[in-house]
């Protein structure tokens, strides 16, 4: 398998900037996720790697070799599309054989490869069926299988399981990860589902408007988001943000009556305090803390999301289990400074990460 590298890449379509200033190295055997909202440049990255479009500036390298101007067929990458693009008139076996016979591979070799891939993906019983007779999940496996038979330098996948239902998606992503790990593939995976990205990625890049906002392991990005943008995108329920000012080592939001002292920060000015829903502690109204009122309660079985009003702001708090809260009742909230991030109120850049 090969590493993939994009350096100094810019690409525009007319006046529209598709991606800008991309410097990205995807290591050999890495499961790399490209994550961002719709039309943030995710798909353009894949197209650049595949050679379907050429960058305006910059270099594309595969396995260390410069391939910026090489046509797609010389790049030896396998692609799994969002819409699968299986040939409807061909059986599973014929679909799997297609990329091999196209390359004039010997018949016995083709058979051997198909059988081994079918085995890995548990699709041997489906080999004689047409795509129309397969379920969504099965079609997905066949599409992945068709990419797999070729022994490419790397796999590119564009939201390959987005069309499946939630339960099947959970299963398929684990399966993909297992495959990638067992077979040591380099895999670039585009998704807009943060949970999916967190679950499978070795590392991930977060895109905004064609630019990379942050690259890191899922845990790094969850715990140390470098901007408010990243913090908003990652995590469900989403992180809570409280706008206020920072001065003399203290964050203050007057309307919400929130004052949090954060050590070791010298900046001052408009700032945003951010804290994850699971990091807020709800206390009884006779305990010290921020005055608050229960707005709504959303039970989710394993945990409960409690929407709480402080000032005019609704804060989401995630607590374990199924505790009872009375709507409208008074409570106190505790923001542990060690769990709080601080972002610049204007630029949204990180000022200080949570210490935990």
């Amino acid at each position: 398998m090969a590493s993939l590298e994009l350096s100094g890449i810019n690409k525009s379509y007319g006046d529209t900037v598709a991606v800008a200033e991309i410097d990205l190295k995807i290591e050999d055997n890495e499961f790399f996720c490209i994550f961002g909202p719709p039309s943030c440049g995710k798909t353009t990255i894949l197209r650049l790697l595949l050679g379907l479009v050429a960058p305006d500036t910059g270099e594309v390298r595969i396995g260390g070799e410069v391939v910026t101007d090489a046509p797609p067929k010389e790049r030896n990458l396998a692609m799994v599309f969002q819409n699968l693009a299986l040939f409807p008139h061909m059986t599973t076996r014929q679909n799997l054989a297609f990329p091999l016979t196209e390359r004039k591979m010997e018949k016995s070799e083709v058979e051997a490869r198909i059988n081994s891939v079918a085995e890995t993906l548990h699709i041997t019983p489906l080999l004689k069926k047409l795509p129309a007779h397969l379920s969504g999940g099965e079609r997905q496996r066949v599409a992945i299988g068709r990419a797999l038979v070729r022994d490419p330098g790397a796999f590119l996948m564009d939201e390959p399981i987005a069309a499946l239902d939630a339960r099947l998606r959970e299963e398929m992503r684990v399966e993909l990860k297992r495959l990638q790990r067992e077979q040591n593939h380099t895999l670039v995976y585009v998704t807009h589902d943060q949970e999916e990205a967190m679950s499978v990625a070795d590392r991930m890049a977060i895109f905004e408007d064609g630019r990379i906002r942050q690259i890191g392991t899922p845990t790094e990005i969850y715990n140390k988001p470098n901007s408010r943008y990243v913090a908003e995108l990652i995590g469900s329920p989403p992180m809570n943000f409280i706008d206020g000012t920072f001065a003399d080592g203290k964050f203050t939001a007057e309307k919400e009556n929130v004052i949090v002292a954060i050590d070791g920060v010298s900046a001052s000015g408009a700032a945003t305090l951010a804290i994850r829903p699971e990091d807020i502690e709800i206390r009884d109204s006779d305990q010290p803390g921020i005055d608050a009122k229960v707005y709504e309660v959303e039970p989710l079985g394993a945990f409960t999301i409690v929407d709480i009003i402080i000032g005019e702001k609704i804060v989401k708090v995630q607590v374990t289990g199924q505790p009872d809260f009375e709507l409208g009742s008074g409570v106190r909230l505790n923001f542990d400074p060690l769990n709080c991030h601080l972002f610049d109120g204007v630029s949204g850049d990180i000022i200080a990460h949570a210490k935990h």
């Binding site: 239902d165 684990v174 943060q194 967190m198 469900s236 994850r276 707005y295 959303e298 989710l300 394993a302």
Partner: protein, 367 residues
């Protein structure tokens, strides 16, 4: 009074039975979710309540009154479509006015009510925009506002949040729930997303293949699933369901997991339920958050397994364990310290176990 009663409600399309003998009472001012996978009959049920689809059999009562002869435009229900069905040839204002205009409401009254709704939905600066210029989030607000402005006593929503981005979805979830508490309407909400159903509804009706599987409060449905379908459908990650055999070799009751080994039954409640089993083939169920991961030396009930995959999903870590042909998921706090390949014991704490008949899938001895 705007309770909704569905009595023996059945809908057939040719050979296909979309809704099969459904009986459901939706009390006045309650928020009820119709939950199920696609094709379970939830949308058909809602269309029948709205009157845009006629039942093949059975009847629908609003506040005790039979709706059979009342056409859709006279039922006075608010309806929000999944794709919003915004009138794209009209401005936002015209969309909001529509329901009032066709009712012949007075002009000044229309103006007042539309203004109030725009304030509530924060659509003020969008009122004279053409709808083609709105974002998805705004379209959704127009769709809800357009129905709410006529102040119907019954509000029906068909997957209204499924097209929204994650952050706005979480926000709208809270807002919808709050709006319902404020306005005290009877709300029926169709969704395939169990998280939405759990977090929003006072009661959930779980449907599958046109049949009602269970009807209860979110916690009831989550804690006491009536069958394996409900158990599997509710919760994320889903409940671990392990097929096994009941054995009582030498007086000690145990669950035989085949190639994954056996686990003794020490839980009194589980023992009681197991004794009621008609067949030895059962399905043992346990929620991912209820399972403990222990060193193998610990002697409590459970099975020896190996860590096969670790998913760090934000606030939680999902640990996948496997042994023989069985695999389970265990949900732990974030940054749970565990390594791939670690040999551990999956411990089944008392009072958290579920047991189902393997053949019918029904829960055994549920109280």
């Amino acid at each position: 009074m705007a309770s909704i009663e569905l009595i023996n409600l059945t809908k057939k399309f040719g050979d296909l039975t979309a809704v099969n003998d459904l009986n459901l009472v939706i009390p006045d001012k309650e928020f009820v979710a119709l939950l199920g996978p696609s094709g379970c009959g939830k949308t058909t049920t809602m269309n029948m309540i709205a009157g845009i689809e006629m039942p093949s059999e059975g009847s629908i009562l609003f506040g005790g009154e039979d709706m059979r002869t009342i056409p859709a435009n006279k039922r006075d229900v608010g309806f929000v479509f999944q794709n919003y069905a915004i009138f794209t040839h009209m401005t936002v204002r015209k969309n909001l006015e529509f329901g009032l205009k066709v009712r012949g409401v007075e002009k000044s009254e229309i103006k007042r009510r539309v203004q109030n709704m725009a304030d509530l939905m924060r659509l003020n600066d969008r009122l004279d925009w053409r709808t083609s210029k709105l974002s998805v989030n705004e379209l959704q607000k127009v769709a809800i506002g357009r129905s709410a402005v006529t102040e119907p006593e019954i509000f029906l929503l068909d997957e209204p949040l499924s097209n929204l981005d994650a952050a706005f979805r979480a926000f709208m979830r809270t807002e919808l729930k709050h709006l319902q508490h404020e306005f005290q309407q009877t709300m029926v909400y169709v969704t395939h997303d169990q998280i939405e159903a759990m977090s929003l509804a006072d009661r959930i009706a779980v449907l599958d293949m046109g049949l009602l599987q269970q009807y209860g409060t979110p916690n009831e449905v989550y804690n006491k699933p009536h069958n394996t379908f409900v158990a599997n459908f509710m919760g994320s990650p889903s409940m671990n369901l392990l097929p096994c055999r009941l054995t009582n070799g030498g007086g000690d009751h145990a669950l035989d997991f085949g190639d994954a080994g056996t686990s003794m039954i020490e839980d009194g409640e589980l023992m009681r339920r197991c004794k009621l089993a008609r067949n030895a083939d059962v399905v043992f169920g346990m929620r991912p958050e209820d399972i403990d991961i222990q060193p193998r030396e610990v002697g409590r009930p459970g099975i020896d397994m190996e860590v096969s995959f670790v998913e760090p999903i934000g606030p939680r870590t999902v640990v996948h364990l496997s042994a023989g042909s069985h695999s389970i998921k265990v949900a732990k706090d974030k940054q749970y310290p565990i390594e791939l390949g670690a040999k551990v014991k999956a411990e089944f704490p008392k009072g958290r176990c579920h047991i189902f008949d393997a053949e019918s899938g029904n829960a055994i001895g549920l109280e």
